[in-house]
Symmetry: C2
Subunit: 493 residues, 2 copies
């Protein structure tokens, strides 16, 4: 760590980029738009994966793996799907290199051209539904509840670490059902799983909603989403769950023998969250000192830092530190005792603040004398001295971690509330978007034309039609035509 981070308030975008790099979360790679997820960043992603995977399995899903490549012709089978993805596809055209004339480099071997080009999957509906055709014959094969953890590629032109990268990691659930109702129920169930995960583990409140026609997934009948508010007042789509109707079943001819002896197309869903959640996690809670991690996703929950001048002092502190670490670990708390003598305590304090470790314990020679230690919270940057004779430290730390988790959530919730404005006049609409940002709750006439026009004029899009809201009719903020309810507008990532 050479010097402090840029300030959030001065350049949010620079602050984010620098934070991601300096906290060892990710960096740009030599390949345009593709990132390297560094060990510390990946260890947070692993914690997210583990929890999501547990939630998927609890709701009856199993994992499987489908090919990275999709034959070009598959993409075209669902008309709106290909339109949505064709413009950003990495295309494999050859399967061999050969030595060049200099004898030092390699060139593509023109004789090794594929008969049909292969697309690196931007999402796997097509290759999966082409497989489901063989897996589904009868209602006995349904529901089919499958998830895949995979990498996907969308050739984005403007990329941003975690938020928008050409390659990203994600999970994609693909399910098949007997009835429309069951598929819709699954779509909503998985939206609920995502919302629970983001709120309870990422400590980030979300708005559950439905996308408009123009914002829905290419190939879906309905797209549900969760939207979160970042500290700069922009919204971030944190997860989507799609009701596919019978679109992919029809495109890939997936029919099943019904209970009543008929033959019908299967109903489908798909749903996904990605490494984009890492971006949301970072943006939502961090500050000018660095990352702020909710304890439930922190790879290291507590760091113990010895303050010492001599080897004897370090040894005496180590005895105490190891004893405390043992007690914490027995409660399932992850602890790191950083006893390196190559870095000074002050450097370590700043380093673990940058890395977002929720709790820091400092122990010096005086603490040994008085049987105390210093406990510092990352989220509030507050400190307290704890007398080990009076307090069960493991119990204290465990309840503090819970408190921090809740406190981070509450802060984000208060921020979201503050950044949500209900507006009824166009001039106010423009002004709020311009000056305050955040979610703007306003009436909309329901037409894509108005939606497009508002986007053109304000750069704000309809993030979602919230699932929970009062029935309230009114007049469209832009066209003044009748509206059946409010929608949430925002500028977004």
């Amino acid at each position: 760590m050479s010097k402090g981070l840029p300030k959030r308030s001065e350049d949010y975008s620079l602050w984010y980029n620098e934070l991601v790099k300096r906290a060892d979360l990710a960096e740009n790679s030599a390949v345009r738009g593709c990132m390297v997820i560094k060990p510390y960043g990946y260890s947070i992603w692993e914690k997210m994966q583990a929890e999501l995977d547990r939630m998927f399995k609890m709701t009856g899903h199993t994992n499987a793996y489908f090919p990275l490549f999709i034959p070009k012709s598959f993409l075209s089978k669902e008309a709106s799907h290909v339109e949505g993805f064709a413009k950003e596809c990495a295309v494999v055209t050859h399967y061999r290199l050969k030595g060049d004339e200099s004898g030092k480099g390699v060139v593509v071997d023109p004789e090794a051209k594929l008969e049909e080009e292969l697309i690196v999957r931007p999402t796997s509906e097509t290759v999966i539904w082409s497989t489901y055709r063989n897996w589904i014959q009868s209602y006995r094969d349904l529901p089919l509840l499958v998830n895949q953890w995979a990498n996907v590629v969308r050739w984005e032109m403007r990329t941003r670490l975690f938020l928008r990268t050409a390659e990203f990691l994600w999970q994609e659930g693909h399910t098949a059902h007997e009835t429309r109702e069951q598929a819709v129920e699954e779509t909503k169930q998985m939206l609920g799983v995502y919302a629970d995960f983001v709120e309870q583990f990422m400590a980030l409140p979300v708005v559950r909603g439905k996308k408009t026609e123009s914002e829905k997934f290419a190939g879906a009948e309905d797209t549900y989403c969760i939207e979160a508010m970042m500290q700069d007042g922009k919204a971030l789509q944190a997860g989507t769950s799609h009701f596919l109707g019978q679109n992919f079943a029809k495109a890939f001819d997936v029919k099943f023998a019904t209970r009543s002896g008929g033959l019908e197309y299967v109903w489908g869903t798909s749903w996904g969250v990605s490494t984009r959640l890492m971006g949301a996690l970072i943006m939502a809670h961090s500050d000018d000192q660095g990352l702020v991690l909710p304890p439930r996703l922190a790879p290291i929950q507590v760091v113990i830092i010895p303050i010492f001048k001599s080897q004897e002092e370090l040894e005496a502190i180590s005895v105490k530190a190891n004893e405390i670490a043992k007690g914490l670990r027995s409660k399932g708390i992850s602890v790191k005792f950083d006893d390196r003598d190559t870095y000074k305590p002050g450097w370590k304090f700043a380093e673990y603040e940058l890395k977002g470790v929720p709790l820091r314990i400092g122990i010096g020679p005086r603490d040994l004398q008085h049987n105390t230690l210093e406990l510092a919270r990352r989220d509030t940057l507050s400190k307290e001295s704890v007398n080990l004779g009076e307090v069960d430290i493991a119990h204290k730390v465990a309840s503090l971690l819970d408190e921090i988790q809740q406190s981070i959530y509450d802060k984000a919730m208060a921020f979201q509330n503050e950044k949500t404005t209900s507006v009824d006049r166009w001039d106010e609409f423009v002004q709020v978007l311009e000056e305050k940002g955040g979610f703007v709750s306003a009436h909309w006439d329901g037409t894509p034309e108005t939606e497009e026009k508002i986007k053109e004029l304000t750069k704000a899009t309809i993030r979602c039609i919230p699932l929970e809201q009062k029935n309230e009719s009114g007049l469209c903020i832009y066209s003044q035509k009748p509206s059946q309810g409010r929608v949430l507008f925002a500028k977004s990532y």
Copy 2:
């Protein structure tokens, strides 16, 4: 399940293919050479991953993620590396599709041609070492112990489910060290981890050895491997660990400030195992009834099947079955109670034999009367009646699972011993390879010419120079020139 599997003894290859498909492990996809790993197969792979990941972390490694794509020029930086991989590369040349003239299909957009072609990673040394250049400045940054779980692509012409596929899943460890000795030690340590995993979890004994110059990894100084014996007498390379010397450090200019104030190239290793292990697991233990899974990798360790004629009988049995299942689960045993009434017990028996579930518990109305149940082992196909008044069933099952794990290993060990022949005459060498198969331990003069000639004449390759063997000089089996020790020949997958 329509009918029985083909017999191993009649057509081993057909038996394998059918088993993989019918046991729901994997199937070929619409994309040539790429497989779909089905949920049941994937759940076994997940168990392998979880254990390997635990072992990697225990030895100090952390996970990270590097890009799927490698710029073409990177491959050429290490001369032998590019030679090894150029011939089987999937090459991305374009980043966009557009509508075709008919308006129904899509074609590659010629205007969206990449300036430099990208290779879908066949292995990640090049992209990782290009990253390490920025991560490593001083000895303080070493050792760097990183692993990646990823998909890779090698454009194989003849593919086989799990054993050789164009895309496969694997892990690749990439480490960097201060000294040659430390890197060699890491290489050997990871070979040991692989050997332990394959022997203790897959119940499959392996020979630890070193590859010859012609068989080593493209870019390595030394390749260590573990080799396992399949039931048809062919060897299968189950894992490799490479000592890279300073080859990739030099190719990507990765130097570090030494403890003594100098500047030196870093020493490297890489090591990997893949979904190929699934092929080894299936081939090593299974029989004409289907899969035989070692309990430590079985997704379902015990299945309970009720034998009933009426709903009342099923209900009575269910009470008993759930009680037993609860007891087993409390010991960490995974249990499935299959109470479906859409399939008959006989069908279920065959189904779970096909799927390799280590233990089956059958409970019928008579068992309820006599407080008994039937316990059937998958590996030996033997059955016994157990009186629940006399035996603690959870304890019995737990120890039986241990016994089965050991028994499967012992059987494989006995088979490997029987299939290992020490040979000193050329005619015998040819005859053993032809008629008996297996490992042939023989003297070799150490030249690639002789190695190549033997391969030509017998199709056998040197699987490895075993690490543990007596010092024994002799005469080369083919050239009669002096030899310093025996090597292991075999036909292989």
